[in-house]
């Protein structure tokens, strides 16, 4: 036991043991130096003042797993000490009276909550441009352009909606960052920013305190430079929470983990150490290579899977997930419908921004009064999705849109369950398929994105073009499966920007996904310090 009066000294000792990890003070300095002003990253929307203020060290915290690790939190996750704006004018001055469960768990594990990160408004967007705080500018600078001053680098998106979290990690402003992922909001920015990003199995990490966009899809994501760091944070925050009715009970998560570990033992894969994975079956789904996919990314992906085969003994299995083409449409119907419902609470009555009626307002209808606040404080993308979702739920459209999308969602789930070797513990036990296990796989791999980070000047403000970015990420969201984007170097033959591949596993099989992710990481170039 270390006596309290030694003050911060033990924390510094601890630092010395973790050379790779910047201290909170160092991170705060980097934020001060790089985040604001012309060419700044604009990753943070609020920052804790100093290390002392963030975390009064207590003796027990020295031995905590994340003791004094600086962690950033996406601004749609509630924090009692910092505002939570969701990058919306609606919540510009909102300070939640409570910490989200994930924030509480991080604090309990000793982490320093260093600040809140920029994002698309309420998580709606793929480029982090729909934000009241201004877009996040990707901190990356390709090798070929490093002669140019960093602040004058090319302005590209950090991806969205968790662009701030991704950029904060990529520019070493924190050790790890919490993000959210509804249809790709963690994986896409991770790929564009050259870091690792996990969308966990739905239900493993509590959503209590995570501002809802689409409840049935929303997950808390984790971002860090290394897969191992993601795993470390995951271990601290993935636990049952009785305050989240969709949190998977202990029994269910343990069951899934046991099935996953059994299979890993069969293959001789160790959970916390890089090892060969002879016989590991990696599924390559034919539907995940749309015409929009950039050819350079395709060759990067080919290299990555070849190395897994040649260096680790994995077996590559071509598979088909036939319902994939319908996933994007189904996703946008479901996500928009739920968003229209979840965002109904922002009415200017109890909290948040408000536009009061004036003498020109016809106050005989409630809707006229509400419209004032909601029209002026929601951004255009949010308004668009609320309208889409409202339509999808209207009596005339419900069957053709919402119910149809739910049917597609069930098909997508079945697609995955049909190809995984490991049983989905959430699905009703089904008859073993007649086709042999030859077509079954342990994990699925696909490129994380169809291109590298798009230049901010090119980004369409609206329209369906931006939605295409999500085409590869939404199926795992609809199925609630764990998906990890791992950086696989740079688009060498193209623009030289970061590239990532995604590993998707059966529900609750994060261990397997991490193991494969670590193997990919071990053979990829990744040096993106700005």
């Amino acid at each position: 036991m270390i006596p309290t009066r030694l003050g911060a000294t033990p924390r510094l000792l601890l630092r010395a043991l973790n050379r790779n990890v910047s201290t909170t003070t160092e991170c705060l300095q980097r934020i001060a130096a790089l985040d604001q002003g012309e060419g700044g990253v604009n990753a943070f929307v609020s920052v804790s003042a100093s290390q002392e203020e963030i975390n009064q060290p207590s003796p027990s915290s020295y031995s905590s797993p994340l003791a004094a690790y600086p962690v950033a939190i996406k601004d749609n996750i509630c924090t009692a000490d910092l505002p939570t704006t969701c990058s919306s004018s609606m919540l510009r001055d909102f300070r939640p009276p409570y910490d989200a469960t994930v924030v509480r768990l991080l604090k309990a594990a000793g982490a320093d909550i260093i600040g809140k990160t920029n994002c698309d408004e309420f998580g709606m967007g793929s480029l982090n441009t729909h934000t009241v705080h201004g877009p996040v500018i990707n901190p990356f600078q390709p090798e070929s352009r490093r002669s140019m001053a960093w602040r004058e680098r090319e302005r590209r998106s950090a991806g969205g909606s968790s662009g701030g979290s991704a950029a904060a990690v990529a520019s070493s402003m924190c050790y790890a960052a919490l993000a959210t992922d509804t249809g790709g909001s963690t994986r896409l920015p991770a790929a564009y920013s050259g870091i690792a990003g996990l969308k966990p199995s739905y239900g493993l990490i509590s959503r209590w305190g995570v501002v809802s966009f689409a409840d049935s899809l929303d997950c808390v994501g984790i971002m860090a430079k290394k897969v191992d760091h993601v795993r470390k944070v995951f271990a601290e925050i993935a636990s049952y929470d009785e305050r989240d009715p969709t949190s998977a009970p202990e029994k269910v998560r343990n069951h899934a983990q046991a099935l996953c570990r059994t299979r890993m033992e069969e293959l001789g894969i160790e959970a916390d150490r890089l090892s060969t994975m002879k016989g590991l079956r990696i599924g390559i789904p034919q539907e995940y290579f749309p015409s929009e996919l950039s050819p350079a990314l395709l060759s990067n992906f080919r290299d990555t899977i070849k190395k897994l085969r040649d260096n680790f003994g994995a077996k590559l299995v071509p598979i088909s997930l036939p319902s994939t083409p319908y996933a994007l449409s189904a996703y946008y119907v479901i996500a928009s419908a739920e968003a229209s419902s979840n965002l109904a609470r922002y009415d200017g009555v109890r909290y948040g921004s408000r536009v009061s009626p004036d003498e020109t307002t016809d106050t005989t209808r409630t809707s006229n009064v509400y419209a004032l606040t909601r029209s002026s404080h929601f951004g255009p993308e949010v308004r668009k999705r609320i309208l889409l979702g409202t339509y999808a739920l209207s009596a005339d459209a419900f069957d053709n849109y919402f119910l149809q999308a739910q049917r597609v969602r069930a098909l997508i789930r079945a697609d995955f369950d049909n190809v995984f070797l490991t049983q989905n513990v959430l699905a009703a036990p089904s008859m073993p398929l007649s086709d042999s296990l030859d077509s079954r796989v342990d994990v699925i791999m696909h490129p994380s994105a169809i291109r590298t980070a798009p230049p901010l000047s090119e980004t369409p403000d609206s329209g369906l073009d931006s939605y295409v970015q999500d085409v590869l990420t939404v199926p795992a969201s609809l199925a609630g499966l764990p998906a990890l984007s791992v950086p696989t170097g740079y688009d060498e033959s193209g623009d030289g920007w970061p590239v990532g591949v995604s590993v998707v596993g059966q529900w609750g099989c994060e261990d397997m996904v991490f193991a494969v992710g670590a193997a990919i990481e071990a053979q990829s170039r990744n040096d993106i310090e700005p």
């Binding site: 939640p96 009715p245 109904a344 409630t366 739920l393 209207s394």
Partner: protein
């Protein structure tokens, strides 16, 4: 095979009743030739300690906006957590109504914007309700009203408009309280039947502890659907009258609606399918909105709440712990204790619902349980008389409720024993009871008897004959009248004896003795003559 047989019986019985109800309503002189058809949706607040999806207290009292959790106020990031007590209590109601509890039910969101709805949607059970089917028997009308379904849902906040100040105030205390919506089939045919349905349902819900069912406190509210058609024709177009909060208003709203609809039809116009309100002052309904203006609630399965799966063992457990229904208790009181229907009904009407506390927990209150412990090992008739006549009478005279009754069942029993054994007279017993109620004392009865000198005078001693002699001497003309055979005057002389003794003599013994003396004299002289 047996269940099927029973089902057939039930159908048969329903048909018979249906037939009878048509023929009987032909005779309604208020609207000859017309047949009203009535269905009712009852919203009953669930008697749970905490709200349906949050841990704040559900009790409706308290300073405005003090019983509000972050979830109740729809704060960003909060999530619902289903209170199992609400499910249990609603299932009790289902059991009481013979409604079939569904293995799988689910929660949906009903969307509309209003300041009393913080999240912009109400969580309800639109697509898959908690229970389906069932029936409620209206004893007085010999009618069975079928239940369509029972669903769980959240109550809204309470908004109070102050037109003078141009302001509406919102109290979130009620927001998120658990409600049961109990929907009947259109099986009622008169305003009186509708009233009886609500009263009967109220009694049932209170009895099983599912709801307080107080209409004046708003814990039970009704929407009523009314249509009329000419006798023998199919159902007419119905109108819904919203938010009726007393049985009286319910009945007058129905009467008003029947009149209005008949007038429309008789003048050759159609009844538009409106949603209507009720003006309590004019006793008339008024239009809230037409069918065309009906809001689209955009029902959506709630993505946060997994389906509610209730297995057979859970349902069996609910059946086991559901308190006996009024009809069962009524029958038991009559058969087991030999009470008259009237006595049994009186007992059951006292503080109905107080047999069960919050969350369905048994509570010590309730007159039936009190009676049963008093009657245990005693004459049940004496027990019920003492409770309903003396105890309740004296409490009522003091404007005190049964819940405030200071006389424990044990004391009440002792008191009855003392009277039965003749240790005290019945008059003294009543005085003693009055004293205990007044002083709220817990002093042992024996002590009280001595302090108050209430012990009966031994009839074998000289006191009673002495008193009787004195009475005869004091009331010579009355004594004469008795001698001449006027028995009624005897009571006056007994009264004098009782007064003189402070009620401590046995009135019966006094009567015997006085008769003996007076008639004896009389009889003796007759013999002599």
């Amino acid at each position: 095979m047996l269940p099927m047989f029973q089902a057939t019986c039930a159908t048969h019985r329903t048909r018979l009743v249906l037939f009878r109800r048509y023929s009987s309503s032909l005779g309604d002189t208020r609207w000859p030739g017309w047949q009203p058809v009535i269905g009712i949706e009852v919203h009953a607040q669930i008697k749970s300690r905490e709200k349906l999806f949050s841990e704040s207290l559900a009790a409706i009292d308290g300073q405005p906006n003090t019983r509000v959790s972050l979830f109740d106020a729809a704060f960003p990031g909060t999530l619902p957590r289903l209170n199992p007590k609400c499910v249990q209590l609603a299932c009790r109601a289902a059991v009481a109504l013979s409604s079939e509890i569904q293995h799988r039910s689910a929660f949906d969101r009903k969307h509309y914007f209003y300041p009393d709805l913080p999240s912009g949607y109400q969580i309800t059970q639109n697509y898959a309700p908690l229970a389906k089917g069932g029936e409620l028997r209206l004893r007085r009308f010999d009618r069975i009203v079928r239940i369509k379904q029972i669903q769980l849902e959240q109550d809204t906040a309470k908004s109070t408009s102050d037109p003078k100040a141009g302001k509406t105030r919102i109290d979130l205390n009620r927001a998120g309280t658990g409600l049961m919506e109990i929907v009947s089939e259109p099986d009622m045919r008169s305003p009186e039947e509708a009233g009886a349905y609500v009263r009967e349902l109220q009694g049932l819900l209170r009895c099983v502890g599912a709801s307080d069912g107080n209409m004046d406190e708003g814990s039970l509210r009704c929407d009523v659907n009314v249509s009329v058609s000419r006798v023998g024709e199919g159902f007419g177009t119905r109108c819904e009258v919203k938010n009726l909060n007393s049985v009286r208003f319910l009945q007058s709203a129905i009467i008003s609606e029947i009149g209005r609809q008949i007038q429309l039809l008789e003048s050759g116009r159609a009844v538009p399918q409106d949603t209507r309100g009720f003006d309590e002052d004019s006793a008339e309904t008024y239009k809230l909105r037409s069918k065309e203006d009906a809001p689209d609630y955009r029902y959506m399965p709630d993505p946060n709440l997994p389906p509610l799966i209730l297995d057979q063992s859970f349902i069996a457990q609910i059946r086991e712990c559901t308190p006996a229904l009024p009809a069962v208790t009524l029958a038991r009181l009559q058969s087991e204790y030999g009470l008259t229907l009237r006595d049994a009904e009186v007992l059951m009407s006292i503080d109905a619902g107080s047999e069960v506390g919050f969350d369905g927990e048994p509570s010590p209150g309730g007159a039936v349980r009190y009676f049963e412990s008093v009657a245990h090992g005693r004459d049940a008739k004496a027990a019920v008389n003492w409770i309903t006549h003396e105890l309740l009478g004296q409490l009522a005279a003091r404007k005190e409720s049964f819940a405030e009754n200071p006389v424990s069942a044990h004391t009440m029993g002792e008191l009855i024993d003392l009277v039965a054994s003749g240790e005290i007279t019945s008059t003294s017993g009543k005085a003693l009871l009055r004293y205990i109620i007044q002083k709220k004392t817990t002093t042992p009865l024996g002590e009280l008897l001595d302090t108050l000198s209430l012990r009966a005078l031994d009839s074998s001693s000289d006191t009673l004959p002495g008193l009787c002699e004195a009475a005869i001497a004091a009331l010579p003309s009355e004594a004469d009248a008795v001698r001449k055979g006027n028995e009624r005057v005897l009571m006056k002389i007994i009264g004098w004896v009782m007064r003189q003794s402070g009620g401590r003599v046995d009135a019966k013994k006094a009567a015997e003795l006085l008769k003996e003396r007076l008639r004896g004299e009389n009889g003796g002289s007759a013999k002599d003559a």
